[in-house]
Assembly symmetry: C2
Homo-oligomer: 482 residues x 2
């Protein structure tokens, strides 16, 4: 049954062993509650040292697959059912409102950058997940081979080999975007800014999913726009029928939507819903700003099609970046603004002039030869595994009745705790223990989600995280008097 393992040079032997055993658990060969072979026996079976087996078992403990029972040995940990209830959809909002975002975001982000805190509050993946060394080598040769890239004025809409590569990838994903219909931006953040400024004027109303990523709420606030929050399902995304009602009752100038793996819900709109949404945009003649920054982080085989795939008349402004998939710190994003291209270009020019070509060429060269698809597969696997382990820990340690999202992509979890839990207080209590979380109140311009929470599973699983989630769960139980 158990096969001898081979050893590629790059992976330590104990990790190899752990991976192979984990596979047996996942395939059901080793079943929950079963005792695994003793350390000594496993060492004999696999022809490795005892310390290698001990290390492998420790790795599997950390990953949540094994548990050590004193005086008895290692057992396959019971897999907690993920059949726990999912978060409920919010009610529609009666009228648009301006956003009053608290200073909390800045505080959370400051702590995120502070190595003294364990940051589960910001949707920033761990640096270790990215091929930084390879990118550094690519960037080194980019500047060595053409130093004039540094002297030439950075006034451009996009480095063509990069825009061509992005266009090629969208074609594969089902969306036709020509390379010269793209402008390269400083991250997805600038792309969203330009898009919003291209389609609105101050005072206008933007429809957004609810809960919504707090960053978009802050951008909307900074541009003096109003929001109308549209009920959104934690699995299937924006509720198109609710959006229709909102359109009938309000003067909505544009929709901001994250159709694939929405932050914070992790929801993904089915193709049919995306199509229906697009037709609704046409019917009411409004544009949509599509944030596709998580689209490449799908766990199923197929990458979800962007809403842009259905766009016949250039009303979808597609925004994205490499910040969640490849190189967070290079801030290379893009926008395919459809018929708003001229306005967006002019705004890009007045906002930041251009995006440094050295960054664009680094990404472009990596996409060409760096094994980007291989990297994407590995980062998707990592996020999926991390989300699973985080979810299990939440179900184990959080108060009974906690509802939990089931993201099929991305790396954030949305939790709805029982009524009576105040997640702002929970945030403060966790901060005292040097852990950050993102309380639900951040994700709305209204007075809701006070018992909700977003947790980022962007950091590889460790004992510290396990303990942190147990701590947060206990703090929540204390609030409920449990």
């Amino acid at each position: 049954m158990i096969q001898p393992i081979t050893k590629p040079a790059s992976v330590p032997l104990y990790v190899e062993l752990a991976d192979s055993l984990q596979q047996l658990v996942e395939q059901g060969t080793l079943r929950p509650g079963h005792r695994v072979p003793s350390v000594r026996r496993m060492a004999l079976q696999r022809d490795v040292s005892i310390s290698t087996v001990l290390q492998a078992y420790t790795v599997l403990e950390n990953r949540g697959f094994l548990e050590a029972r004193p005086q008895s040995g290692y057992y396959v940990r019971p897999r907690l059912s993920l059949e726990a209830p999912e978060p409920r959809m919010a009610r529609p909002m009666a009228k648009p409102s301006y956003v009053g975002v608290s200073d909390l975001t800045a505080e959370i982000l400051a702590h995120t950058m502070d190595p003294a805190f364990l940051s589960l509050g910001a949707a920033c993946p761990a640096p270790s997940l990215f091929p930084a060394k390879k990118l550094a080598r690519v960037m080194g040769s980019v500047v060595r081979n053409d130093p004039s890239l540094i002297g030439r004025y950075a006034m451009n809409w996009g480095y063509e080999p990069l825009t061509r590569e992005i266009a090629r990838r969208y074609l594969q994903a089902g969306a036709t975007v020509a390379h010269d219909e793209l402008a390269i931006t400083i991250g997805c953040t600038e792309a969203i800014n330009l898009a919003l400024r291209a389609v609105t004027k101050p005072g206008d109303t933007i429809a957004v999913e609810t809960p919504a990523y707090y960053g978009i709420l802050q951008i909307i606030q900074s541009l003096n726009l109003r929001v109308l929050e549209i009920p959104t399902d934690s699995r299937e995304g924006l509720c198109v029928d609710a959006f229709r009602e909102a359109l009938q009752q309000n003067d909505i100038k544009a929709l901001f939507v994250v159709p694939s793996f929405q932050n914070p819900l992790g929801s993904c709109m089915p193709d049919a819903a995306k199509e229906k949404l697009y037709e609704l945009l046409v019917e009411f003649d409004i544009p949509a700003i599509e944030d596709d920054v998580y689209g490449d982080l799908h766990f199923s085989e197929r990458r979800p099609k962007p809403l842009k795939s259905w766009d016949r008349d250039g009303r979808v402004l597609l925004c994205s970046s490499f910040c969640k998939t490849l190189a967070p710190s290079l801030r290379v994003g893009w926008i395919a603004p459809g018929k708003y291209m001229e306005r967006v270009r002019r705004l890009k020019f007045t906002n930041t002039l251009g995006t440094p070509v050295v960054l664009q060429k680094t990404i472009s060269d990596f996409l060409r030869d760096g094994g980007y698809d291989h990297h994407l597969r590995s980062i998707r696997r990592a996020y999926q595994n991390q989300l699973h382990l985080f979810s299990q820990a939440v179900l184990r340690h959080f108060p009974a009745g906690t509802r939990l999202s089931r993201p099929q992509g991305g790396f954030v979890l949305w939790l709805e705790l029982p009524n009576g839990v105040d997640t702002y207080k929970l945030y403060q209590d966790a901060l005292n223990k040097r852990i950050t979380i993102a309380p639900g109140a951040l994700f709305t311009a209204k007075d809701r989600y006070k018992n909700c929470l977003r947790i980022s599973a962007g950091i590889p699983w460790t004992d510290t995280i396990a303990q942190a989630l147990e701590t947060i769960g206990n703090l929540a139980k204390q609030q409920l008097g449990q």
Copy 2:
């Protein structure tokens, strides 16, 4: 009289020779109209080959110091008097207006990037003026030594060693700015955007110098602000008395000002005027956004003090960048926003999140060990020399009565042509000859400067430039029927 020349390894012999002869012209040893020694005699005198002397004389022809007279030899070219009249100050503007910037700017900038055009229209220095190779080496070691810079999320207000270095340099220039009072931005363009957004709301009126850099007019337009243009002297900058009158008659929310080497005039406000301006800001209790991007490009010994030097209460938002002095393409700028720091930080976060640390550290390491001061001295010398040659050519070839600015820093020239010249037509005619210039109409939100022109002297002098300026001059004369 004429000394034998030594030869450092790095400079070709004929350039050495040309430099040494140019020095003799500049010192007055060789005087205008005098014949220089024949090629053969010079070769004997300096113990170099005849072809070296021929090359050196050609260089000096290109630089405008010598002229060849057929059958006669080389003569020191008459130095045209720079006592030609200077451009006149504009009249005050009756009331604020929204900006209606034409598409011309985008067109000019597109041609600037097109190597088929000789670009005298955009204020972009030639890449050859920057230490690109050295910066490339620095950037290569930055990423090699710390690849994690690429993986870490770029969420920051500034890389501390860089902000400390910028603060140190301001201290030398006479302005006290603490390193943590700075935020690093995507070029000066983003800094100005953040500053304007921090101190205004849509519909507000901003006072600007006139003529004004068209980029600032476009930013103002993109933010739905109004401008009031304040008369500005081509030598002494913003007319403070005219600004006082404007403040008395209008509800001005802020001033945007380039006190040192204003673009396009090249004017520099004397210290006394800066101080008087600051006191006026206090009296009327409004903030000023100071664009100091040309401040380091002074031709006299002393760097002009920023307006910020007089700032007692944080009402001056100082904006600048390394794009005109060191690395145009890296887009590293900054803002010292005084008492508006919190607002500016929040806007930076929503606008572009952060500035890539790899770019910041590259600049910072170069400032630490790369000989930045040495580079600055050489680029200042280059700009001064180029401006001189451009000015001479303008006086030689443009219609009589052309007025010309006398910048004491920076690298742009402002020309006021005789009435009857339409510089928009001149721009179009020049474009047909594959030369770009910036017509005066770009530099105002009003209907003026139709006979004015900005020429950038950011490109080292060549025959092509000499011919281009002659061409433009002839086109202008044609318009006047000359």
